[in-house]
Symmetry: C2
Subunit: 160 residues, 2 copies
Amino acid sequence: MSTDEKLMKGIEAMFFAYRGFTQDPDRILAQHGYGRAHHRAIHFIHRWPGTTVSNLLSILGVTKQSLNRVLRALIEDGLVESAKGTVDKRERHLTLTEAGSALEAELSEAQSARVQAAYASAGPEAVAGFELVLEAMMDRDLFGHYKRLGDDRGTDRGET
Amino acid sequence: MSTDEKLMKGIEAMFFAYRGFTQDPDRILAQHGYGRAHHRAIHFIHRWPGTTVSNLLSILGVTKQSLNRVLRALIEDGLVESAKGTVDKRERHLTLTEAGSALEAELSEAQSARVQAAYASAGPEAVAGFELVLEAMMDRDLFGHYKRLGDDRGTDRGET
DNA sequence: AGAATACGTCAGCCTTGTTGACATTCCAAG
DNA sequence: CTTGGAATGTCAACAAGGCTGACGTATTCT
């Protein structure tokens, strides 16, 4: 197989795999009247409880107007709590409520199940390769913010 | 690292990698006044010149109204040609014009460059694993149609 | 005191998806 | 030869979720 064909195959695989990847959570979200944007917010708030709006903006790479629309819905529906910062009172620290955590768990379970199944069928060595390639393919801007957030968590607050 | 952490890492990697994956083509498309939907149509028409609208619908998994809007723009702009079928005159066979092929090449080059770079930095064994995992993760519905199309091409019309 | 930051919000626009309805053309079965 | 259904196109309306631009408020930094 030529290099071009190999690349083409990889490109199409990414397309179809991403469809599969989002399929199950999308179904659950639709039942709750939400979309992928809500999923992303919920995911990262779960991942770093107490994170601020601007952290989320950096990670997601969207405008504050776009994120705000999503957050407002989640807060109004009682899935996310927004607390004024104690150190810097301009900041809003976001956490999931119990209801929010419940939805997060439901979404995460559905998505993990498919990833887990793919991992199991491909084998651990394939998974290692998978992660290597994905890391090399990442959007460096967004991931930079993400990593920085992770580092902060490691040094400033310790692991949970 | 726990299984849950491994899965979470994979899930976030997919998110950030897909962003990277679409970034370069998105920029080019924006310059031409198009979006990702146009890219997908152009890609698959390039991949199987002469394919029909309903084939495209099956592969892309969108409604005909949605696809039609995109196709109409591409046809009006002279990037895609729609030819009434000779065997079944209801069908429209879609092909790229020269201008369409040029844009396809530009998009493909940009996207391939990043994939190629990721492949090179991760190494051939990682790439093999990457493809294995992606295949296991794919949306079976869409990919089923895709594969069937490929088979048809192999048996009914021969390779180009 | 004044500049900069974090956040929220209003208004309007675009792309891309959806449903529903309807017309045309054509194939195939009765 | 009629008729049902498939393939296509099109109109209208709507929603999610991006975007820009502008503005306001609270707070912090210089």
